[in-house]
């Protein structure tokens, strides 16, 4: 049993490290994870400041950072299987004796961890250029909320990876889902200003609970419920992803379409 766990841990580490290195050398993902959040943070800072709401700059900083985490998860995990196909490594992953979710989970975790650069970048940018102070009401809750958010988005990423594969143009789907999830999750504004019918959509999105956890940890409030909800939704995502990945593998093998785009 312990050797089995050790093998899984080794597999996880190898997948995490290799994908992390690949992302770190990709100009595109560095753009999404670092540059784009800084750009949106800048716009949000100026908008809040121009509107006479300078006190909300940390709020904007956290939100813009979360936007980067979501975008990286969306593009990197959403297009992951397609990229594996293009690189010719999908067959190797499917043919290996380990189950597909176990192979691709560390990839998704690496994707979301790369996205977490965004939070660091926007907080640093806000501090250096706009003098945004990083004063946290519950520092320990913040320290716990951050990896929780990243992990819950990683697990959602696995679900995206397993469902987008059925859509030939995963990148187009990713383009479409970027802004709507930013909106529905209320990353830089409260969801209370959105129409009432949209609220249930917000509640099933891990980024919604993730930003709530970070905000409550930073400004005060109960961070534990959002942290728990983010983890719960992450768990649901991984269960669904396990089924959809198995289904994808079965279909691809039965139709002999694994390597076909």
């Amino acid at each position: 049993m312990s050797s089995q766990l050790l093998r899984i841990a080794r597999l996880f580490r190898a997948g995490f490290v290799i994908n992390g290195k690949m992302l770190a050398t990709s100009t595109f993902f560095m753009l999404i994870a670092v540059v784009q959040p800084v750009i949106f943070a800048t716009i949000a800072f100026y908008m809040f400041r121009s509107g006479g709401r300078a006190g909300t700059l940390l709020y904007a900083s956290l939100g813009a950072g979360m936007m980067g985490v979501w975008s990286t998860t969306l593009f990197a995990s959403g297009g992951m299987i397609q990229w594996q196909r293009w690189q010719g490594t999908l067959e190797l992953g499917v043919a290996s004796p380990v189950s597909l979710p176990l192979i691709y989970l560390p990839f998704c975790v690496a994707n979301s961890f790369t996205g977490a650069y965004a939070l660091g970048a926007t907080l640093l940018w806000g501090r250096l250029l706009f003098g945004v102070p990083l004063q946290l009401a519950h520092p320990w809750a913040f320290v716990l909320a951050l990896p929780t958010v990243v992990i819950s988005l990683s697990l959602l990423g696995l679900l995206l990876a397993s469902t987008f594969v059925l859509y030939r143009n995963a990148n187009a789907m990713s383009n479409l889902l970027e802004y709507p999830v930013w909106i529905a999750s209320g990353l830089v504004f409260s969801t209370s200003i959105l129409p009432g019918w949209s609220h249930p959509f917000s509640w099933v999105l891990p980024p919604y609970w993730g930003i709530l956890a970070l905000r409550h940890a930073a400004f005060g409030g109960n961070a534990w419920t959002p942290i728990g909800m983010a983890l719960l939704l992450g768990g649901v995502s991984v269960v669904l992803a396990t089924f959809t990945l198995r289904w994808f593998e079965h279909l691809a093998r039965a139709r002999a379409t694994l390597a076909l785009t």
Partner: protein, 262 residues
């Protein structure tokens, strides 16, 4: 002249269909037709939270700015795509007039950019209650074409750089970001630092957005003549610089044998 026109119109259209892979409905609709509306919604809600401007202000700014998505990526891919499909050398080996060859590729991109931007207005009207008098629709459409022209000029510059680098999508993304921050799309120009407002004066979109906002509020085209003239001039200048850069990079590429190696 007939050959010139054939290369300009037919060549440009074929290039657009062949290289602009977003032409597939499954890609085109979510990216270019729905994308601008989602961007408008995001900034309108952010604007409400910041207590900055009305929804209509954000609808006009972001709808016009969304022309840059189609123009920058369209022109970038129209040239960079030749390398991906390994037809760049073949195209540049032809004796075809370069103005017809490259400007012909710009025309469908320009039209597509205007269509993309117009969907933002439709989305804004349906979801945020944006309204403008019917008499202002045609002048607004003209301003959209003008903004698309100016952005296509900038796209030509991005495409030219694509002859030297492999990162056209990155350059196009960064250019779009610059337009989003500097051009008064979501932040009033007088709220930006002085140097940013000064840079904005030299960018496409700034004047078209300002003119569109006034026209959407009921002003006539005559009252925004200066903005239109400046936008036209900027578009022509970017187009000319982009074209000259393309010619220069082509000649350098031939001389050094690096056309397909960037």
């Amino acid at each position: 002249m007939r050959v010139w026109l054939r290369i300009f119109f037919v060549g440009g259209l074929i290039s657009f269909r062949a290289l602009f892979s977003w032409i597939r409905p499954s890609v085109y609709i979510p990216t270019l037709l729905l994308g601008p509306t989602t961007q408008i919604l995001f900034f309108a809600y952010l604007g409400r939270t910041a207590h900055l401007k009305s929804d209509s202000w954000f609808v006009v700014g972001n709808a016009v700015q969304s022309a840059s998505l189609a123009a920058l990526f369209g022109m970038g891919f129209a040239i960079d795509g030749e390398r991906w499909t390994q037809t760049l050398s073949a195209v540049l080996a032809t004796p075809a007039n370069r103005a017809a060859l490259f400007l012909g590729r710009a025309l469908p991109v320009l039209a597509n950019a205007a269509v993309t931007a117009s969907t933002g207005f439709v989305g804004g009207a349906l979801l945020l209650g944006f309204r403008t008098p019917w008499s202002q629709v045609l002048p607004l459409a003209l301003l959209l074409v003008l903004a698309s022209f100016a952005c296509t000029g900038l796209g030509m510059l991005v495409g030219a750089i694509g002859l030297r680098t492999r990162d056209v999508p990155i350059i196009a993304n960064l250019t779009m970001a610059v337009l989003l921050i500097f051009c008064g799309v979501n932040i009033p120009l007088d709220k930006l630092p002085g140097w940013m407002s000064a840079v904005a004066e030299g960018l496409p979109m700034t004047h078209a957005i300002a003119a569109s906002r006034r026209v959407a509020d009921g002003a006539s085209l005559g009252t925004v003549g200066t903005e239109m003239f400046v936008e036209l001039g900027l578009g022509a200048a970017y187009l000319a610089v982009g074209f000259l850069l393309l010619r220069w990079f082509e000649q350098e590429g031939r001389r050094l044998g690096t056309l397909d190696r960037a």
